[in-house]
Amino acid sequence: MSSPSSNAASVSTSASTTTIHLTVNGRTRTLSVEPRRTLLDALREDLHLTGAKPGCNMGQCGACTVLLDGEAVYSCLALAIECQHQAITTIEGLAHDDQLDPVQQAFIDHDALQCGFCTPGQVLALKSLLLRDPHPDDDAIERAMAGNLCRCGAYPKILAAARSLAGRAS
């Protein structure tokens, strides 16, 4: 939303495109993007990887979560051109061949999803936690997942899935 009485803003920020290389799910991809393109839009619009979801486009929901060198980040807050030297993992790259990642399987088994719109982000946020701490306690799980909103309220089951992966019964 802009100025109250007039909306005019004449300066065009449209810029020419730049060629970049992104390593996504183990493959190097070459794209031509405007510098202002976010990682989320590059994944979705240019690479047609639509698993990362735009829940807000302003870093407030976590639906766009992907892994950068194993670390969960909001891809709506990163520019694609900044991510050329990191390994990007999206939800599409988590399963190998037909074998689901254990986090994905745990989400299915515990019904840790309803509409599923937040789910790719939730799965990757938990994956990132387990990569650095294979046996997190509840507090660590909640801290790691607190930036991923689920409006359907799948939280109790996300917690149950996480506990099972941490080697603890719910």
């Binding site: 990887l49 807000c56 302003m58 689901l100 999803l113 309803q114 509409c115 309220g153 939280y155």
Partner: protein, 777 residues
Amino acid sequence: MPIRIVTTHLEFEGQVEEVRVVLEGEEPPAWGPDTPFQVVGKPTARVDARERVTGAAEYSYDVQLPGMLTAAGLRSPHPHARISRLDASSALAVPGVRAVYSHLNAGDFINPSSGKPVFGNELLYHGDLVALVVAETPEQAREATRAIDVAYEPLPFVTAPDAALAANAPMVNTAVPSNTISDEYPQVYQRGDVEAALAQAEVTIETRMETPAALHNSLETHGGAASWDGSRLTVWSSTQGVFGARQQAAAALGLPMTAVQVITQYMGGGFGSKLGVHRSGLLAAYASRQLGLPVKYMLDRTEENLDAGNRPPSVQAYRLGAAKDGTLAALDLAVIHNVGANGLWSSPVALPAKELYQCANVRTTDRAARTNLGTLAAFRAPGVVEGIAGLEVAIDALATELGMDSLELRRKNFAERYQLLDRPYARKMLLDCYRIGAERIGWETRDAEERRYPGGRSGHLRRGIGMASQLWGGDGGPPAQAIAKLLPDGTAVIITGTQDIGTGTRTVLAQIAAEELGYPLERVRVELGETAHGVFSPMSGGSMTLASVGPAVRMAAVEARKELTEVIGQLAEAPADALDIRNATVFNRETGAEMGGVSTYLEQLGGHEITAKGMRGPNAEDVTVRTFGAQFAEVEVDIGTGAVRVVRIVAVHDCGRIINPLTYSSQIEGGIIQGLGFALTEQRIVDERLGMVMNPNLGDYKAPTIRDIPQIDIVLLNEPNVVANTLGVLGAGEPPIIPTPGAIANAVGHALGKTVTRLPLTPDRVLDMLSTTTERS
């Protein structure tokens, strides 16, 4: 099959509606309490969970087509203004921009739901649509919205409902001569004589409850992708009802319904706000037709929170009168609704007051104000969430006044019959819900010193236990259809026109069909979410999907199986009724002999697919079907900071037979969590001086996170309601959110010895309560 037309009654969110339904054939007899099951009733992972955890599920937001353009909206920064100048030339000069639509060039595009132009030059609220930009990329579209040169002439505005209804109030819309919804308001319901009963009552109390505007914040925003190919329009709509969306899109574009198809395979939550195609979907369709290219318009989060509806604010004033023994003598409720700029209806906030307790003298008065704020939309049990909170807090206050246990007071005023139509309930398990919930939460010891003061009396923590009742329809009804097709390889397809909005509809329908066919679950595929190949099903709202569509699916499966056993009987030269099918294998019932898989027979038929139809039969007449339930909450309040932590919720709901206990518990948990947000943190905040919404985003609008979740104990009653439908099921989507805010409010009231008058219970309000509200014992 003979066709008949039956008149039946549908109850949707408090309104009874008479409908004619076409029926074909007979529904099978209802599943009884002792029917044995293989698949139904077993905790079952979602049949489409894999797509949802791998990113393969395609939501409307994800639809990408060659040449597809993206739209972005420019929104009004004023609560009420006239557009005095709009110049789109700079916007059109932004590279990649294909069109800018506004009242200047698209003023004749009418939204069929309201009958009004989609683009007006009078803007009625912060966030009202000024113009739409269509461009090649999302960045270009957003940039171009900022380049539109608009001059606004601000007009007087009003955001508070009582101010809107006052004499000489500014008009919310200068084209409409009144700020109320219609001359049917105020709406008054009465039975008996409330004033006389109040005057004579031995005990009277007055309470008040103000509830905030809550924003749905479905994680997928409203919108759609549309593709016009010259003769046919396809809309991928994030909707709770593909058939209604088709009808709206066809009407808006002046197309025959055959020329429109709507697809909703996966959608990211709606909670009542996505019952149609939405203005955003219509605009995508309009632009696609104008430009001859596919167009996607998904609202951004700010647009969503300003213009995609809300649970509207309510102000409720209760007056209760009772005898000293607790018998309720009078109940008076006055509600003021704030329905926003274009509201055409008000929510059934007064429904619980009319129905929940036995009372001969009841009056409810609904006043409804339109204001210069975004318009209301249905939100998970609209009105009833707010009404239960108000009423149940009033009942607790009355119990305190009487010196009675509040649960005892509720039992004393238990309503045996449905008082609005003076007829019986099909079943009412509310007393069981009270008993079981009270036991689980430890109601008896709720006043024990060590429970109420976890850190001792001198500490800063107070615990309280409270509860609230739940009532809701959720019995569904016709029309709803399904088709079952048995394929030669021993698999089956169930076709309906419903949609799975995240509730697990695909899974429960597959379970029902698998059960009746005698097929393993993996062999049954449910096709839904599209108008072109689906058969009519109602929108997914009012907790009626399963109770409406489930029986149709069951009937289709029963009919298909009948035909299957006849075919096999003739091929195997055995009487059809001697054949049993289990695990897609044929058995002779009498000898127990295995006769091979169903495919052995079906493959002999030259590709023929056995095809059978099922329809939801009429509802039972002269009886009211309800889900009843109760929730008990235990909270801990820090009297130093005002922070409230919900420790535990016990939920006991009668939702009839439970087809899938796993997804059922997910629904219950989800409802409770949304209710918890409504009770403690969620509210649209409006700066009254500016008329602007201050928190139209997910950062400042505080929806619950994983850190806010209490222990949730769900009691599974699982009692089939055989009067309701042939499955014995009732809806479970809305019931769980209904009692949560009331139960939490009563628990906080118990912890502090006060009566809650406003939601949400933010820390500042809790501290306020501690210093100002009158004590209660």
